[in-house]
């Protein structure tokens, strides 16, 4: 790849203007291409001061307590590093070994510290754990409201009610996952009409699926399948 292409792609990557596929492609290529990795570091230096345009917001106190709980579960930093980064580090070690052999063979000097640092940055900006899946569940026909749904890697679902959501006292909204190619939705739990609910360890399909919400009798569908109208739905979700 030419230097100009590297510059363009590195700048756009750091700027945040790329779509998901383009971001993945730049990450993957930067892991192989020291020039691109170095260009990303340079663009980070140039643009990072822009964060000062965002007014500071204090995070909720619960963020630290959650973080402490996570840390308690982790082993020492070194052990955790090995656990989380084993695949990339093995690949990196192998590639470095191969590169070193080529370099020695050709009698060329070892790569510069800047390039090594650049490679490290790209390694460190890779995802350490699976990202939660996020989707909006919106009215399928008319109406208002919906839910912001976050599906964690362990199957926990956080459902945040958005806008005006109403049903009668003897009804509940029930969340379903419909796997691609299936006609049988899987029940995931009852949804709140205000604030947040956590549906623990829900049976989220591993294949692509859409989320549906039906209006059910109080306590949820008695049959294990939707009995009321499907009122809300999401776009197809890939995990």
């Amino acid at each position: 790849m030419s230097g100009t292409d590297d510059e363009d792609r590195a700048g756009l990557f750091v700027l945040g203007a790329l779509n998901a596929e383009e971001m993945r492609a730049v990450r993957a290529e930067a892991d192989r291409d020291p020039e691109l990795a170095s260009a990303i570091v340079d663009w980070e230096r140039r643009l990072t001061p822009l964060v000062n345009l965002v007014p500071l917001v204090t995070p909720p106190a619960t963020l630290w307590t959650q973080l402490e709980t996570r840390l308690d579960r982790l082993a020492t930093p070194g052990a955790a590093l090995g656990e989380i980064y084993r695949p990339p580090l093995r690949q990196r070690t192998r590639r470095r070994g191969e590169r070193r052999a080529v370099v020695l063979w050709r009698g060329v000097a070892v790569a510069s510290m800047a390039v090594a640092a650049g490679l490290l940055i790209v390694l460190l900006t890779r995802e350490p754990t699976p990202l939660p899946t996020v989707a909006m569940v919106m009215p399928v026909k008319s109406g208002t409201g919906g839910w912001l749904i976050t599906v964690a890697a362990n199957g926990d679902i956080h459902a945040v009610a958005q806008g005006a959501l109403t049903h009668t006292r003897d009804q509940d909204f029930e969340l379903w996952a419909l796997p691609a190619g299936s006609t049988k939705p899987v029940p995931l739990g009852l949804l709140p009409t205000t604030q947040v609910a956590v549906l623990s360890r829900a049976a989220v399909p591993s294949e692509p699926f859409v989320l549906l919400v039906s209006l059910e009798p109080k306590g949820g569908s008695p049959t294990g399948l939707p009995t009321g109208p499907i009122m809300f739905g999401s776009a197809e979700i890939m995990r």
């Binding site: 980070e44 001061p49 007014p55 959650q66 973080l67 930093p77 996020v134």
Partner: protein, 181 residues
């Protein structure tokens, strides 16, 4: 971010984190969490998603503290990068249509570049941004601060996608040239 005299710098705190020092990690959190949370909140536009993003970023910081290399820049820039990329991944996965561009704070962010005066390396960037045409400057800032993709900017400004892409590419090239001068 203010560091009082006598307090260890963030590099020192990272070194201590690498040795498993939880007190150093707490100090690092106290010093940088508001900045990281603000950045994540601006991009994800949702408090829960911002909290998740920052939590994961700090886990990465704890786990990778010993790999931090000062040659790549200040510790805060490294931590901001971890947070921004994670937030961008999250909103890109949700898709542009799924997280509505509901707030209008975006406009506020581009009106004044004064906060750059007090930031490290901010003054030169401010001067170079001011040399850009205002519309170009707006696109660059919205992409970085709000995490707007080419496609989202195209929809928001009702400008063809190809024009958005070429305009941003030219703007970045101009910024790079100006900053190198």
């Amino acid at each position: 971010m203010t560091i009082n005299a006598g307090e260890p710098g963030s590099e020192i705190l990272l070194e201590r984190c690498a040795a498993g020092d939880r007190a150093a990690f707490r100090a690092l959190y106290d010093r940088h969490s508001a900045r990281l949370y603000s950045v994540a909140l601006r991009i994800t536009r949702h408090a829960n998603l911002a909290s998740d993003t920052v939590q994961e970023a700090f886990i990465q910081i704890w786990q990778n503290a010993r790999l931090y290399d000062r040659s790549r820049g200040a510790p805060e820039a490294w931590m901001i990068g971890l947070t921004r990329y994670r937030a961008l991944d999250l909103v890109r996965r949700a898709g542009p249509a799924l997280i509505p561009l509901e707030d209008q704070q975006a406009a506020d962010a581009v009106e004044s570049l004064a906060p750059l005066d007090d930031a490290a390396d901010g003054r030169a960037l401010k001067q170079c941004l001011e040399r850009l045409d205002p519309n170009r400057r707006r696109l660059v800032i919205l992409a970085f601060v709000e995490g707007f993709s080419h496609a989202e900017l195209s929809v928001q400004f009702v400008i063809p996608l190809g024009t958005i892409k070429s305009t941003i590419r030219r703007s970045l090239a101009a910024l790079k040239e100006c900053l190198a001068a």
